[in-house]
Structure formats: structure tokens, C-alpha cells
Amino acid sequence: MAICAAVTALLLSTILVPKLRSATPQADDILVQALGGTAGLAADQAYREADVYFHGGNAVRRRPGDRPAHDLPLAKWIARMQGEAAPRTHRHLGGVEEKEILPWFAVAVRLNPHHIEAWSTGSYWYFRTGNRERALRFASDGIKSNPGNYRLYLDRGIVFYHLRKWDDSVRDLESARRLWKNLNEDSPYDLRAIEGYLSYAKSHRPSVTAR
């Protein structure tokens, strides 16, 4: 009986474990294992941290109508102590400093490979900071983890477009158009971007230009 159970367990693990690993590519990651179920939340936080870095460490977003309760005793003093301790002024990183936000995208997608926004925004920022090869690789890695999402094909298609690789750009933009779904409020704008870039890329193709 025990031998039967052991053999069944061995067979099941031989069949199931590779399937499980391919379904969740991050399962072997030590960071993900350490964080367990909170890895997704940590990925969101890492993605938000990129935004905080871009704003020079300013994480405060006061809601409209928010006013410090200065009528309460010591309130002004406490608000000043808290305000001075952390960055509160609005500023953006510029130039080479923009590279500082990049590691957070790498962390976010490592924690959650299905974080489309992190793949997409990360790819954009790699491109914007001049690291074009890395932007392409980042978008390609995102596509590998999320082959059914149009957004990453659009991003990679745009990178190819700017690199003047017209055929690659057309191929990705066509994949994006084929996979497009009305997923959120940005999707209609994305469709317009797909159509726009696709027509430009097609018009620049050597075969079209020669004609």
C-alpha cells in the first residue's frame, strides 16, 4: 500500500511539477518563494515605487479638499515635523537621473511576470533613457510571459518602429491588432496607436518605398 502511494506520488509529481512551473514561471524565484502570496502586492508596490522615485521620493498624494487640521493642539508642529522628514515638494527626475527608476520595473516583473503595466512602462523607460536593446529585450521577455496580451506587442512594435526595423514593427503591430481587446479605458487609444503606427511602418517598408 505504502509503495503504491509512493509510486503514485512520484508519477504525479513528475507530470504535475513541470506543468505547474510552466504555468507560473516565477515559482522557482527565491524572492517569490520568500514572499509567498504577497508577491503580487509587493510587485504593485515596486511599480508604485518607480513613480515615487520619478517624483524625487515624494510619495504624498493629497486628495482635493484635504487640509491639515491646524486647529488641533500641536497639529502644526507635528505636520511640520512629518513634512520635513520626508520629501514633499513636487519635482521630476531628469536626464541621466531617470535611470534610477529602472530597477523597480525589473523588481515588479520579477515578482509578478503578469504585471502588464510594469512590462509596458519599463520598456518605455528603457527606450527613453537610451537603452534601446534593453527596451526590446524587456518587451520580448514580457511577451514571453504574456503571449496573449496585445499591449506588449504594441510596445515592442513601437520600439522596432523607432529603430527603423519596419518589418519587425509591422509584424508586432499586426499581432497587437489581432490580439486587441477592449480591456480598459486605454484600450481604444491603444487601438488608434496600433493603426497609426502600423500604417506609418507599412509605408516605410522597403518594398512599399521601392514601388
Partner: protein, 255 residues
């Protein structure tokens, strides 16, 4: 044998234990990893500084709280307190000595880990160690550790070591990371609840005053001198208050 001798005893006891060395090795590993790791950005100085700083700050708290919380209770459990009390010292000498000892031991642990950060910054060449803000952050963290140790010792006089650790950590985390958010909620409360919540809020130990790590990481420069001094004075007053309260409670405690 006075408070200072008891404090010295606490530091020696802490350095004999292995927890600190394990944490120091982990911090060294993390700093080394951050030095070698290229996450796709050649100038990821802020990221490395941020990660290592946060790890050191949290590790120093994690070492300090159990250390301070078990100072008195382990003496009572192991009957060491009777040996110490048989000497010509007052009970308050003993409590002050234990609180000072826990603080001194935590500062030694933190300073060793901070040295790792400084070495990493020198090697990375990303963050200047001449930044005044970095040294202010170091001093403010020491003030926070002293305040936290006094708080943990104070709670441990009336609670079990486990309870003291849990309660101190909750107070630390809530005030250090959630204080601004709580303040925003209080602002939107109806009148009576607002004033009651405010009274509770200002009575809490405000650990967020000592957290200027984001200023340092993002290069916002040093705190204005008056704010820096006010934070130190606040930390000192709170530490004295918690230690005095612990001494008063312990004086009346049946051993």
C-alpha cells in the same frame, strides 16, 4: 555597582549572542549583492542605497526590540535579578541600567551595520558620504533606537516578553510608516471623535520624526538644524519618560 555597570553587562551579553552576527553577515551579503547586481541601470545608486538603508534600519529595530524586551524578564526568570538586587543599588538604578544597556547594545549593532552601508557607498561611488543628511539619519536612527528600547523596557515591566515585543513593534510600525495616513484620517472625522482620536494620536510615540531615509536616498539634503534638534529633544524626552515610568512601576513590583 551602578546603572552603568549593569548597562555594560547588557552590552557584553548581547555581543556574546549570535543573532547580531547572523544579521551582520546578511547585511554584508545584501550590500555585496547590491554592489555586483546590475538591474539594467548603470546609475542605480539610489536603489542600492535605499534597499540597503531600509534593510539596516529594519534589522536594527528587529534586533533592538527583543533585546530590550527580555532584559528585565529574563533576569526575573533566571533569578539573576536577586543577585543584582543584593548589591547596594536602588531598583531604579537597575531599570535605568537595563534600558541604557539595551540602547547601547542596539547602537553598537546598528553602527556596525551602518559601517557596511558607508563602505558600500564608497565602493559604489554613487552616494557621497560627505552628505550631511546621511549622518543626520544615522544620529536620528540612534535616537529612535534609544526611544524604542526605553519603550520596550517600559512595556516589559508590565507584560510578558512576547507581549512587549509585539506591542512595541506594532507601535513602531504604525507610527513610523502609517502616521501621516492616520493624521489624514483624523482630519476627516466628526468633531468629538476627531478630538478624542487626536488626543490618542499625540500621545503615541512618533517614530516617523526620526525617519529621514527618503530625504537621504533622493538627495533632498540635510534637515534644517532646528528640526533636527527638535527631533533629538523629542526622542530624549520620550526616552526619559518611558524609562522613568518603567522604574516607577518596577519599584512597586513584587519580585
Amino acid at each position: 555597582m551602578g546603572s552603568l555597570a549593569i548597562a555594560r553587562l547588557s552590552v557584553v551579553e548581547t555581543l556574546r549572542r549570535k543573532e547580531f552576527y547572523v544579521v551582520l553577515v546578511l547585511v554584508l551579503g545584501l550590500a555585496g549583492w547590491m554592489l555586483m547586481l546590475n538591474l539594467g541601470s548603470s546609475g542605480a545608486g539610489r536603489f542600492a542605497k535605499d534597499i540597503v538603508m531600509q534593510a539596516i534600519w529594519l534589522a536594527s529595530f528587529a534586533l533592538a526590540v527583543p533585546l530590550a524586551a527580555r532584559q528585565i524578564s529574563s533576569d526575573v526568570e533566571q533569578k539573576t535579578v536577586y543577585v543584582l538586587m543584593s548589591r547596594p543599588i536602588h531598583r531604579w538604578h537597575y531599570v535605568v541600567g537595563r534600558a541604557l544597556g539595551a540602547s547601547a547594545a542596539s547602537i553598537v549593532c546598528f553602527a556596525s551595520m551602518f559601517a557596511v552601508l558607508v563602505i558600500m557607498l564608497l565602493a559604489k561611488g554613487a552616494g557621497s558620504i560627505a552628505d550631511m543628511g546621511l549622518w543626520q539619519a544615522f544620529i536620528l536612527q540612534i535616537a529612535a533606537l534609544v526611544m524604542l528600547c526605553s519603550l520596550a523596557v517600559c512595556i516589559s515591566v508590565v507584560a510578558t516578553p512576547g507581549g512587549a515585543v509585539t506591542f512595541s513593534l506594532i507601535l513602531l510600525l504604525v507610527t513610523r510608516y502609517g502616521s501621516a495616513s492616520i493624521l489624514s484620517r483624523i482630519e476627516h472625522m466628526p468633531a468629538v471623535a476627531r478630538e478624542t482620536a487626536w488626543a490618542v494620536y499625540i500621545a503615541l510615540p512618533h517614530f516617523e520624526f526620526f525617519n529621514i531615509s527618503q530625504r537621504v536616498v533622493h538627495g533632498w539634503g540635510a534637515l534644517p538644524a532646528d528640526m533636527f534638534l527638535q527631533s533629538l529633544v523629542y526622542g530624549f524626552v520620550c526616552s526619559v519618560f518611558f524609562t522613568t515610568l518603567a522604574a516607577v512601576i518596577f519599584r512597586k513590583r513584587w519580585l
